[in-house]
């Protein structure tokens, strides 16, 4: 079967309408998980089928799409999903955060602040923040309905009692608009503050678990904490070794088996843009500037 045999962005219009209805409901009730009839996609569950369905449902012909995984446009799954939409929707794609109208992501929020009119689509494996405290769906739905979230704090209390810290470093639970407890998807907690009052629309799709939820623009997103153990983001002790950026999330790259390592921007577009503008880290090549720029896929 060829790509031409499929509808624009793969899903049929009826399915898209059903998903858009779920998205609208999700936007109307920020942080609430809306069940939807997730379709079986031509990529495996757990590999972004929720995000792909959300993206497919909102994508128009004029959209410019960016897909990242671990902050990078070049990781294999990001490449694969971008290719899928190039093939089925033929939309323009970009690696530049500022140029994209729709950004599908797994595990990161771009460093460049998002703008009004942009949509960030998250791929979500387990949408239920209470799942590992209470495995039963019937019970967790009741807990959300009654805003019974004490148990989540018990978990944080246990972390501090045991480790001296809140030991959750990613998928760090947040309260949305003061009402619903929400899993931000497995982004590092470093990215949590970026969700707070973001100008962009944030949509979350969990395909296997058949849930969609949303954070509308300018919505309060507060990371859970204690007054005397306030929420803190992950810190890095050195700037990016390639572009010298500080206050960004870094990947550790192991250079050899004798403890040699370096830290570089996880957001590759951010890093390349900075390098193109002449910023240099301690391990950057002096001539890489020209080719470090954007690729047009």
């Amino acid at each position: 079967m060829t790509a031409a045999a499929y509808n624009f962005a793969y899903l049929d219009e009826q399915t898209k309408r059903m998903i858009r209805r779920a998205i609208l409901k999700a936007i109307a009730i920020p942080g609430y998980q809306v069940p939807f009839a997730s379709r079986e996609m031509p990529m495996p569950y757990g590999w972004g089928t929720g995000g792909v369905q959300v993206t497919a449902s909102i994508l128009g012909r004029d959209d410019v799409l960016k897909v990242i995984d671990q902050g990078s446009d070049d990781t294999t799954n990001a490449v694969s999903i971008r290719k899928f939409f190039q093939k089925t929707a033929g939309v323009a794609t970009t690696t530049a955060t500022a140029e994209a109208t729709v950004i599908q992501t797994r595990h990161r929020i771009p460093e460049t602040p998002l703008q009004a009119g942009q949509v960030l689509v998250y791929q979500v494996p387990i949408p239920e923040p209470l799942r590992f405290l209470e495995p039963r769906e019937t019970e967790t739905r009741k807990m959300h309905a009654l805003a019974e979230y004490g148990l989540m704090h018990v978990k944080l209390y246990e972390d501090i009692a045991r480790h001296g810290h809140i030991a959750t470093t990613y998928a760090y639970p947040v309260m949305v608009a003061g009402r619903y407890l929400m899993d931000p998807s497995p982004t590092p907690k470093f990215d949590n503050p970026k969700m707070h009052r973001s100008a962009a629309l944030q949509l979350f799709g969990a395909g296997r678990e058949k849930r969609i939820y949303a954070v509308p623009p300018h919505t309060e997103v507060v990371s859970l904490d204690f007054e005397d153990h306030p929420f803190e983001v992950n810190r890095f002790e050195q700037p990016c070794a390639l572009c010298g950026a500080e206050g960004v999330y870094l990947d550790e790259v192991v250079l050899d088996d004798r403890g040699g390592r370096m830290f570089v921007c996880s957001d590759t577009d951010h890093c390349e843009t900075r390098q193109a503008a002449g910023h240099r880290g301690t391990m950057a090549s002096p001539i890489a500037a020209g080719e470090g720029g954007r690729r047009a896929d």
Binding site: L146, E148, L151, Y157, A161, R162, D228
Partner: protein, 259 residues
């Protein structure tokens, strides 16, 4: 210690049937703030059934139960919505199970167990939660150094005391207890009873204590209700009923303890 205030809990004609079998039938009584009521009777007489209906853990087949909320308004318990009911259960009420494993989170530290209700009602200061937990562990005679252990590492008596602390930390006005000293050995029982009596008196708690042990009833309760075949057959001040039982069945009960 009845007062002229309106009762805290009012039960009228409370009945619970299991198919054709009677769990409890036509039970009527008032419980006032600060009053401890013991429910006694032989095995199968309907004590636990009554307790589970009173605490809204089971629905009655007939009858009505009203509870005076903190705002002074008496509400029909079975007309409360789920949110109100659950709030009541975790703030204004306590429930002490015979088996502490049912009333504790066994995988969570003692501090977390005691702190859970505080966090559930919005306490967000780790230091204060911990201080309160330490204070309560002290009150139930558990050493502060055990605060980060889970109940799995506790003895039976310690677990029961931890369960009591976990229930009392939000200063409830009413506590239900089903055989709180059952399953413990005699010396441990005596210490726990002593402790319970002190706490109930200090905090001015109302309590409904189910027990088949008349010694427990005598030590803890102001009033006593004797059940048989699901019905209340005798009720009165504890000392009066135990020292001078009217009903032949109660006389038998009392006698069998004395011999």
């Amino acid at each position: 210690m009845p007062t002229d205030e309106a009762p805290l809990l009012m039960a009228r004609g409370v009945t619970k049937l299991y198919g054709h079998r009677i769990g409890c039938q036509d039970v009527t009584f008032d419980l006032h703030a600060g009053e401890v009521l013991a429910v006694v009777g032989e095995s199968g007489s309907g004590k636990s059934t009554l307790l589970s209906v009173l605490s809204t853990r089971a629905e009655p087949s007939a009858g009505r139960i009203e509870y005076r909320m903190r705002d002074g308004v008496a509400r029909d318990l079975f007309r409360l919505n789920e949110a109100e009911r659950r709030l009541l259960l975790r703030t204004d009420w306590g429930f002490v199970h015979q088996d502490p494993r049912e009333g504790l989170r066994m995988g969570i530290s003692a501090g977390g167990n005691v702190g859970e209700r505080l966090m559930a009602v919005g306490e967000r200061h780790y230091g204060r939660i911990r201080e309160t937990a330490i204070d309560w562990l002290g009150r139930v005679e558990i050493d502060e150094s055990r605060i980060d252990d889970t109940p799995r590492a506790y003895s039976g008596g310690m677990r029961q005391r931890l369960q009591i602390a976990r229930n009392l930390v939000t200063a409830p006005r009413l506590v239900f207890m089903d055989e709180p000293t059952g399953g413990l050995d005699v010396s441990v029982q005596a210490r726990l009873l002593d402790l319970l009596r002190g706490l109930v008196a200090d905090l001015g708690l109302a309590a409904i204590v189910v027990t088949h042990d008349l010694a427990v009833a005598r030590l803890l309760s102001h009033r006593i209700m004797v059940m048989r075949h699901g019905r209340v057959i005798e009720t009165g001040l504890t000392d009066q009923v135990l020292d001078d039982p009217r009903e032949p069945y109660t006389q038998l009960l009392v006698a069998s303890v004395l011999t």
